[in-house]
Every structure is written in C-alpha cells, then in structure tokens.
Amino acid sequence: MKTLVWVEHDGSAVKDATLAAVTAASKLGEVHLLVAGDGVDGVAKAASEIAGVGKVHVADNAAFGHNLPENVAPLVAELMASHDAFVAPATTTGKNIAPRVAALLDVMQISEILSVEGPKTFTRPIYAGNAIATVESSDAKLVLTVRGTAFEKAATSGGSGAVEAVSAGGDAGISSFVGAEIAKQDRPELTSAKIIVSGGRALGSSEKYEEVIVPLADKLGAALGASRAAVDAGYVPNDYQVGQTGKIVAPEVYFAIGISGAIQHLAGMKDSKTIVAINKDEDAPIFQVADFGLVADLFSAVPELTGKI
C-alpha cells in the first residue's frame, strides 16, 4: 500500500505530530510525504530526512501558504490518484483538511486512530475516549487522521526520500487568510504541554485561581487548565477547559487541583501519563484515577508544593 502523509510544518520545521503520522503510515506500507506551502524548500529537505520516507511531494505555491483546505484538498485528491491512503496528524490543521479530501474521494474517513490492527482495520476513541471502537473500512482508499500521543515519533534523520515537485493545484478563489494570533510562547499550549496544572470549582474565584494555580504552573513551566465547573463559574476563560466538550489532553503530568473528577472532565485528561490530585474530599472520584492523591486543603497544600518543588 502506498500512503501519502500530510506534513504539518510552520514554514521552517516539521511539526512533531507529523512524525507520529509517519509511524502510523509505515504500518500500512510505503510512506510518501506531501509538503505543501509557500517557500518550503527547507521543510522539504527536513521531511526527506525522516526515517523510512520513500518520496517527498513538494507543492510550493502561495495558494498553499496558510493550509487553506479549499486550495489544499483538491491538490491532495489529485495526488491520491496514485496513492492508497491519505494520512494526516489529528491536529486542527489535519482535522480541517482530511475530511474535505475524504469527501472529494467519496471515502468515509477514520478519525484519530490509536492503532493499526490490519490493512483496513483500526482502533479509535469514541465518546471522548470512554469507549474504543475497532473499525474496518470497506472503501477502496483510506483517509485517516492519527492521534499523536498514540504512536511513537519517527526519527528525524536517517531517511533519504526523493524530493519531487508537484505543479498541481492553485487558489480556488473562495477563501483567504486574514491573520493569526498565536499564543505567546512563555506558556506551552494545553494540547501539547508536558505538564498541565488545572484548577476546579473548589478554588472559589478567579483571584484564587491566579493566586494558587498560576504560580505552580509558572514554576513548572506548565500549561494552565480548568474544569468545566471552574469555567462555568467564570474563574477562567473557556479555552482553559479540559474535558469532553473542551480540550482532550495527554501530558506527562496532569495536576487536578480542587477538581472532583466529573465524567466530563475525566474524559479529557485520563490518558495523561501521571495524574496528581489534590482535593480535601477523600471520596472525590478524581482519586480513583490519580497516581498520586493528596487529601488536603488546596489553599495551604498548593502554595507549599509550589515552594518546595
């Protein structure tokens, strides 16, 4: 099987999520990459060095500069004439593009695969990870997105893929990029952070969130999160929300502070490697999933932890 992997990049470097997608694709067959963008010679070179890569298709065109799916999906669909599977990382970019490609190919996409069980069989999370479905495609071609935390990252060196320019595609003329506000780099993104410190309703106010949660996150270089209850109570903005209807995260360490552990919240963080819970209610459900639980008053325990860590 010949696979075509979407290379997600920032214009200069290949993003990590791509490397997990390469590993998933390599379980299906030959790995070809697609680097699309505006001025992507550097990315194409880096992509060709990824271990196990056979060929790198490079579509260098201003129309592909901002990953606009209206422009990119027809390009991918055209390349898919000579490939059997399109594989994209399940990032916001991959999720934006892949279904548009799938519909152009009349293929039912399989989203966020966790494992490759056979040539057309995969596992994927449903109900925010509360159940795992094993699914088998009957379509002639495959369109997959890959959950980055579920696959090892392919090595970024050792490969020698042949770089080949693609002239197909252009501007569909129905969409344009206006601008971006990418979060300041002094705090990691919630979805890719190694450590996350989350606060819940027990904090009682946005002032207490600032006073108790933020210093610990600062000290650990962690991302900030919150439960839906804390968001609904207005302690923090919506985009802090970890949970079924918020962000799904899987950091190395997740601190759940003053969070009882509602189903909704657990669905968003239970794949974290290590969960630390601090709560004064020893019967809180969060302790059933926590690797390290501390039954204590968070208003004294967390500042003490911040001081000692």
Binding site: I126, D139, V289, G293
Partner: protein
C-alpha cells in the same frame, strides 16, 4: 439570508457512556439524550445572526431516529423557524449525512450552514468539512467568532496554539467551537410556541442518498482501566514522588 443548522441527538454529555457487554456499542437504552453541545452553539449563533438582522430564516435539520424530533423541538424553542427531520433508525456516517445536507442545501439555498465541529458520540469531526467539499463552498471550522460582511464571512478559528482568521466567500460552511457563544435556554412560552412550528419528516431516499455504512464497527470495548495509585501523606511526600519522576522547577 437563510441559515441551515444541522443538529444531532446524542447521549447527554453528563452521562457516563457504558459499553454494552456484547461489545456491539454503547448502551443508549433508558439514558438521557440531548442536543450535541456543539450543535447548541451552532443554533445559538444562527439565532444571534437573525437577531442582528443578518439572517432572515433559520432551518434546523436532523438526520436520525424519530426521537430526534425532540432535539429539533429544542432548536425550535431556542428560536429556529422550522425544522426538517430526515428519519432513519440506523447509525448514519458523516459522509452520508453530508450528502443528505448537500441535497437539502440544493433545495433550501442557504447563505450559511452552521454545524457543531463534532458530535460527542462518534467524535468524528467530519460532517462540516465533507459538506464543504460536496458543495464546493469555503469552510471556517472550529469557529470562535463569526462576522458576516457583505458577500463574505470572516471566521476566527481556534487552532492549535491560538487563533486564526479567514475570510470566506458566501455561501459558506462554519463549524462551531466552544468559545463561540453560550447557548440560551428556551423559555417556557417559547417551548410551547415551538410545538406549533413546522417540522417536516423526510427519508434519506427522498434525497437519493445511500446511507449504507462504509466503515464496519468490529467491536466496541472499554478503554484500558486506569487504576488508582497511592495516596501521599503530605506535600513533602508528593514533592519527593514528583522529583523522583524528574518533575521539578
């Protein structure tokens, strides 16, 4: 401008999904079902656009079982003008839903289709993008702000690491993210009024769409169980455990 809002009836987000013992799926018997939370946000956004004078009519569509009528009545009670139920008891995949919506779009000629970014049951996150491909329209997915400006719509999108704004030619597809708005509750008088709003019932065959699944569910299982770890006695013990793992400032 007319706005089309597809809505799905799903297991309520506060109910813990239980995998059926025979591994065929998640048990939906006798559990609370609600409108998919992202679809509620889509309905709210459409109503706000109507309140601003941008939209003139809002049509809600659901592809699902007879009981999806309740979901459509909720949308009508929130402020949607009329509803279409495309009734089918079997599970319908996003690709088939998108094909049905494409056919409804051909008949209704909406200026905007606003959908939830994903349903919280299948978590596919596909229908809006697929509908965009089938219609050839532009798509603004994971929206946190939507502004209609003449013959364009400007959509601010929640992307990994921040926000991105795109300008799309109308008609266009928008899918909602959490931050777009806070959906209203339907008032009792509006719930009563919704009972007399028009709700048409159709079948997939009326739109000439084959809903046979392309992807077979082989089995559904419980995720690996996370076992509870240890309780630590105090902060010092926690600090020691964390430091042993390499977690420190």
């Amino acid at each position: 401008m007319k706005i089309l809002v597809p809505v799905k009836r799903v297991l309520d987000y506060n109910v813990k999904p239980r995998v059926k013992a025979d591994g065929t799926g998640v048990d939906l018997a006798n559990v609370k079902m609600s409108m998919n939370p992202f679809d509620e946000i889509a309905v709210e956004e459409a109503i706000r656009l109507k309140e601003k004078g941008v939209a003139t009519e809002i049509v809600a569509v659901s592809v699902g079982p007879a009981k999806a009528q309740e979901t459509l009545r909720t949308a009508l009670a929130m402020g949607v003008d009329r509803a279409i139920l495309v009734q089918i008891d079997d599970e319908v995949e996003p690709l088939a839903v998108a094909k049905i919506l494409k056919a409804i779009g051909d008949a209704e000629q909406p200026g905007l289709v606003i959908l939830g970014k994903q349903a919280i049951d299948g978590d596919n996150n596909q229908t809006g993008q697929m509908l965009a491909a089938l219609t050839g329209w532009a798509q603004g997915t994971f929206a946190s702000a939507v502004n209609v400006e003449g013959d364009h719509v400007s959509v601010t999108r929640e992307v990994d690491g921040g926000l991105e704004t795109v300008k799309l030619k109308l008609p266009a597809i928008v899918t909602t993210d959490l931050r777009l708005n806070e959906p209203r509750y339907a008032s009792l008088p509006n719930i009563m009024k919704a009972k007399s709003k028009p709700l048409d019932t159709k079948a997939p065959a009326d739109y000439g769409v084959d809903t046979a699944p392309r992807v077979k569910t082989v089995k559904v299982s419980e995720p690996p169980v996370r076992s509870a770890g240890v309780k630590v006695a105090d902060v010092d013990e926690l600090v020691a455990k964390l430091k042993a793992m390499g977690v420190h400032s």
